[in-house]
């Protein structure tokens, strides 16, 4: 064993020496033999010139460019290389005040130890013309140089909130993405720019130059062999129709609210307006306008369409009706009376005047409150369930299967899920057994604890249009080099059978097309030949006048578009939301409007004075 062991230990020692020799030979090779890795003159060193990639372009669904890039310049200064210069001349060339330059230089001087040989960005995003002037005189200012930088350019004014903005990364952002960014880099912060940052940004490159002992840049290192070219970002194709988006923005101008249109078959978002929004002209240089935007009392950065939890109002009756049909507590032949509302004890939940009793189809057409109180009552007092707790939670599950009370899972990073009550909530509020149907009666007409985003009710319209399923709404289309998550291709079924959906569509058709004077609620939305099916809603708003709500889709038999319009403090659903949605549909399907008067009224309508600003 000992001799055998000694033998083996010798083998291992030889192995150790061989490994060390391999390393040393390779070291000898790269340090002494090969001069590929060497820089000849003793004091030379390399200078890295960062090449920024061009950011990907954003297209609309028809190939129209909605975001592209334009060239600007940054002025860089390497304080170590600066020699005394004519401050005034530099200031006039660069179009800044001499004090600005003096302050900057003083600041660099103070931090000179920290800065070392690094270059600092002194001025950002100057115009090409200014840069040209500077370039001519650059020899007067050693240590200063310009660097090309591309910034965002918006050829059409479509969807500021949707697109999001790009701005310089701050320390917090750099730390949140370790190894990906350095100070001076830009990144998408909201909207598509943020959601698709990884695709859009591309990869930085660099050119390596050699600096001689007098700190002058002499030549390309190794003729550029070790350089890295920047890789441009991927282009993104969105599902947005730029023309429709622009039209929608015009319809919503001077109103607060949202307008969302979805292609039902694909879940692709055709337009998504949040009003008031951020104008694209501010996006390119957001830091300049940031204070102005933040101070705006109507919070333009707040994307109402995917974030605001609004009471849905009567459009929610569709959901309750569908659940009733599925649970068997409602059928097409049941009729319920309504005498200006639903009476219970000394209270009543009021309704407008219409004939009585009604069946489901006409109850949808006329949006009868009383009828839908019975619908929810029967759902919640279903003998099938042991208690109202259980039946309410069942109801909650149904509603959730429509995409309410949770995030839909769209590709908006900021999407929120709204609110939806459970028995737990009511037990907490009223005590166990301390509440019954009449306590929570307001949820039968979409008030109370139900909060939905405009995107969610647009998705409801799409679900009804598809007779029972939806695809998760999304805004980015798959294109070359850009993939989208597979769930966007999958049909999402609700817990209600598809056969039951067919039963409510007729009511929605009649709500729009039954002819004026017959009690239908949305005659104003009718467009001959388009077969728009819709449902109005008028939701109470504790902060002033009621909100006007309308969801619809068209055409009835082969739906191409589903729309939700939500206008804050605008009154009845039929007054503002219905015409806005109807005009949008007509524009999309016909390309132009047949109702210029209505269009004019809507576009010129200014409801801002009714809206209380947030403080």
């Amino acid at each position: 064993m000992t001799t055998e062991g000694n033998n083996r230990s010798r083998v291992l020692l030889i192995g150790l020496v061989v490994a060390a020799v391999i390393i040393l030979v390779k070291l000898f090779y790269i340090q002494i033999v090969e001069d590929k890795y060497k820089i000849n003159a003793s004091n030379n060193s390399m200078v890295y010139d960062i090449i920024y990639p061009t950011r990907g372009i954003i297209y609309d669904r028809n190939g129209k460019i909605i975001v592209s890039n334009k060239v600007t310049y940054d002025i860089l200064v390497t304080p170590r290389e600066v020699t005394p210069f004519d401050t005034l001349m530099l200031a006039t060339t660069l179009d800044v005040s001499p004090d600005f330059i003096r302050d900057k230089m003083a600041e660099y001087d103070k931090n000179r130890k920290k800065i070392g040989y690094q270059s600092m960005v002194m001025l950002k995003q100057i115009k090409p013309e200014t840069y040209m002037k500077f370039a001519e005189l650059q020899y007067n200012f050693p240590g200063f140089r310009g660097q090309v930088r591309s910034i965002r350019d918006y050829p059409v004014n479509a969807g500021g909130n949707l697109l999001g903005y790009v701005s310089e990364v701050d320390q917090k952002y750099i730390e949140a993405h370790p190894g990906e960014y350095r100070p001076g880099d830009y990144a998408g912060k909201t909207g598509i720019e943020a959601a698709r940052e990884k695709d859009l940004r591309g990869e930085k490159g660099y050119h390596i130059y050699l600096r001689n002992s007098r700190n002058q840049i002499e030549m390309r290192y190794k003729d550029g062999e070790m350089d890295k070219e920047a890789v441009p970002g991927h282009d993104i194709v969105t599902t947005i129709d730029a023309d429709l988006q622009q039209y929608g923005q015009q319809l919503m101008q001077n109103k607060v609210g949202s307008l969302v249109a979805i292609e039902p078959k694909t879940g692709e978002i055709l337009s998504l307006v949040s009003s008031p929004g951020v104008d694209v002209s501010m996006l390119a240089d957001i830091s300049q306008h940031y204070n102005e935007i933040i101070k705006d009392p109507h919070k333009p950065m707040f994307n109402r369409a995917v974030q605001a939890p609004y009471p849905p109002g009567s459009v929610f009756k569709l959901v309750n009706g569908l659940i009733g049909l599925q649970e068997g507590t409602l059928n097409m032949d049941m009729a319920y009376p309504c005498s200006h509302g639903y009476h219970f004890g000394n209270h009543k939940l009021g309704c407008h005047g219409h004939r009585s009793p009604l069946k489901l189809e006409e109850a949808i057409m006329m949006s009868c409150n009383g009828f839908f109180c019975y619908v929810l009552k029967n759902i919640l007092e279903n003998r099938k369930y042991k208690s109202i707790d259980e039946s309410l939670d069942k109801w909650h599950d149904y509603v959730q299967s429509f995409g309410f009370g949770r995030k839909l899972g769209s590709d908006f990073p900021a999407e929120l899920g709204g609110t939806l009550p459970t028995s737990k909530l009511y037990n907490k509020r009223y005590g166990k057994g301390g509440w019954k149907f009449t306590t929570i009666i307001s949820i039968s007409i979409g008030q109370g604890e139900v909060g939905v985003t405009p995107l969610q009710i647009a998705n409801l319209a799409a679900t009804v249009a598809n007779r029972g399923w939806y695809k998760i709404p999304h805004i980015v289309k798959a294109s070359e080099g850009v993939e989208i998550e597979p769930q966007y291709y999958e049909r999402q079924y609700t817990m209600v059978d598809t056969t039951n959906f067919k039963k409510v569509v007729k009511g929605m058709w009649r709500a729009v097309n039954n002819g004026p004077g017959t009690g239908c609620t949305a005659a104003i939305a009718e467009v001959k030949g388009l077969d728009i099916c819709g449902k109005t809603g008028t939701a109470q708003n504790p902060r002033g006048a009621d909100n006007s709500v309308f969801i619809c889709f068209a055409p009835m038999d082969d739906p191409k578009i589903a729309v939700a319009a939500y206008v804050e403090n605008a009154g009845f659903g039929a007054t503002w939301a219905a015409p806005i949605a109807s005009l949008l549909i007509e524009k999309y399907l016909r390309g132009e409007t047949s109702r210029p008067d209505l269009e004019k009224r809507v576009m010129e309508g200014n409801l801002m004075s009714r809206v209380k600003a947030y403080k």
Binding site: M1, L24, K228
Partner: protein, 482 residues
């Protein structure tokens, strides 16, 4: 080496090991200072910077070393090896669930400002348990039961560390095979593993055909070595092999495209021959009672299987970033900007050092932040750039001396426990050294593990200090028996 210190003066410490250790630690500290050095002259003791922190780590490490040498009974290590092993294994598993994601790996415990990696300590506990198990008197590595036990002790922490996505640290455990070899494990296994790596690389870089030819050639050579004679069969086989080597070239020259012969690929012929030969050699091996023939045949089958599964392993089992690193290393893809960036930068830094280096604090590549992880995994770049080939030579030499001395001491030990533990220590240091330095000079793929004693970092320095000083303490105990 028969000097007086070996002759058992009571409880003397092997001061040479301590000196190598101290030299390496100090070189590390100086280079960490240089690697973060900029125009801003900071003190090497400034606690705000890594060099100052490293100073604290060094002091605490020396404290640990003193504790191990003078306060802890060295018998403790043996008796506590199993509970310590299990405890650290528990930490290794726990860290997967509680740690933050650091560049894809889940291996760090964080307590406020203090971070540590259980994978570092696991090397120590695994070594101790290995030594304790393998030093039992009835232990024989050639017995299947004992071999499996060893494989499990090494394999479990290795797999858990792989699950933490710390491929580098896991690879270090492969070094324990050298310990197994020393303790009687067949050298053919080492040879086999080496061949497997060679075939894998050849299949990727050249072609499966060439790699199969090499396999057949090597197995024939083995046959000659084992039988000690070259019979007629051998010469015939050699002729066939030579013909097969020329086959692609001949076929290309003589056969017209689209003719029948064009469909005959050299590969098919080779495989056909192998398929015929395998049963023949099996029967022959059995009949002649020659084990080497049977085993070579098995080796041939395993080799063929490996060659044909290489693509699958490479494309389906390896993770994306690992595949890229291997592709770059083998020169299959030029990628000086992406994965190749680190290697390129580190080779520029080292290469620019030349013979004598640019001098202390005069490095430009390392201090301006072109080299990533310059004070941790790529600390060797600073050595290479500022001290040149001479500096690198000295550092490598110190490591070789350290490992050499540990092995020599281990061989001198009377107790198997000390000897085996010593080999474990040597294997760990060697693996770290070869992988880390190999990575910075483009010999190995980019695998992030620290350079022992030199790299910045408390948990690594502590771990290697404890690893080495336990051996020094054990060896010192040994001498008391003389």
């Amino acid at each position: 080496m028969g000097n007086f210190s070996d002759r058992g003066v009571k409880g003397s410490i092997d001061w040479r090991l301590v000196i190598y250790y101290l030299l390496l630690v100090i070189i590390g500290w100086i280079n960490i200072y240089a690697s973060i050095h900029s125009e801003n002259p900071t003190s090497i003791f400034d606690f705000n910077f890594r060099c100052g922190k490293q100073f604290v780590w060094i002091l605490t490490s020396l404290g640990l070393a003193t504790l191990i040498l003078f306060a802890i009974n060295s018998q403790f290590w043996r008796s506590a090896s199993l509970p310590m092993y299990l405890f650290v294994l528990g930490l290794l598993v726990l860290v997967i669930f509680v740690s933050k994601d650091v560049k894809g790996s889940h291996s760090w415990f964080e307590f406020g400002p203090v971070k540590f990696q259980p994978a570092e300590i696991s090397k120590i506990t695994t070594s101790l348990l290995l030594a304790s198990v393998m030093s039992q008197t009835n232990f024989k590595i050639t017995r299947l039961k004992d071999f499996l036990l060893t494989a499990i002790i090494i394999g479990i922490p290795m797999l858990v560390i792989l699950a933490e996505s710390e491929t580098g640290s896991a690879l270090v455990y492969a070094g324990f095979i050298f310990v197994m070899y020393r303790e009687g494990f067949s050298g053919w296994w080492l040879f086999g593993i080496g061949m497997a790596v060679l075939l894998f690389i050849l299949t990727l870089t050249a072609s499966p055909y060439i790699s199969l030819l090499v396999l057949v050639g090597v197995i024939m050579a083995v046959g000659v070595v084992c039988s000690g004679k070259t019979g007629a069969v051998f010469w015939i086989n050699l002729g066939v092999l030579a013909l097969l080597c020329l086959m692609p070239w001949i076929l290309e020259k003589t056969v017209k495209p689209d003719s029948f012969l064009d469909k005959v690929k050299p590969m098919y012929i080779l495989i056909g021959l192998c398929v015929c030969a395998i049963p023949y050699f099996f029967v022959k091996g059995y009949r002649d009672r020659k084990r080497y023939i049977s085993i070579s045949t098995l080796g041939l089958i395993a080799g063929i299987a490996l060659v044909f599964s290489t693509d699958f392993i490479f494309n389906n089992i390896l993770q994306d970033h690992q595949r890229k690193r291997i592709e770059v290393l083998l020169g299959m893809k030029e990628d000086p900007s992406g994965v190749g960036y680190n290697v390129n930068q580190s080779m520029i830094a080292i290469g620019s050092g030349g013979l004598t280096g640019k001098g202390f604090l005069n490095g430009t590549q390392t201090t301006f932040g072109f080299v990533p992880e310059q004070s941790t995994d790529f600390i060797f770049c600073t050595v290479g750039e500022e001290w040149g080939f001479i500096g690198c030579f000295v550092v490598i030499l110190l490591y070789v001396l350290l490992i050499w001395r540990i092995i020599v001491d281990a061989e001198k030990s009377r107790e198997a426990f000390t000897r085996i533990y010593g080999y474990c220590v040597a294997a760990c240091i060697f693996m770290h050294l070869f992988i880390n330095v190999g990575m910075t000079i483009g010999l190995m793929p980019v695998i992030g593990i620290p350079l022992p004693l030199l790299s910045y970092g408390g948990s690594s320095l502590w771990a290697f200090t404890v690893l080495i000083f336990i051996f020094i303490a054990l060896y010192r105990q040994e001498k008391k028996y003389y």
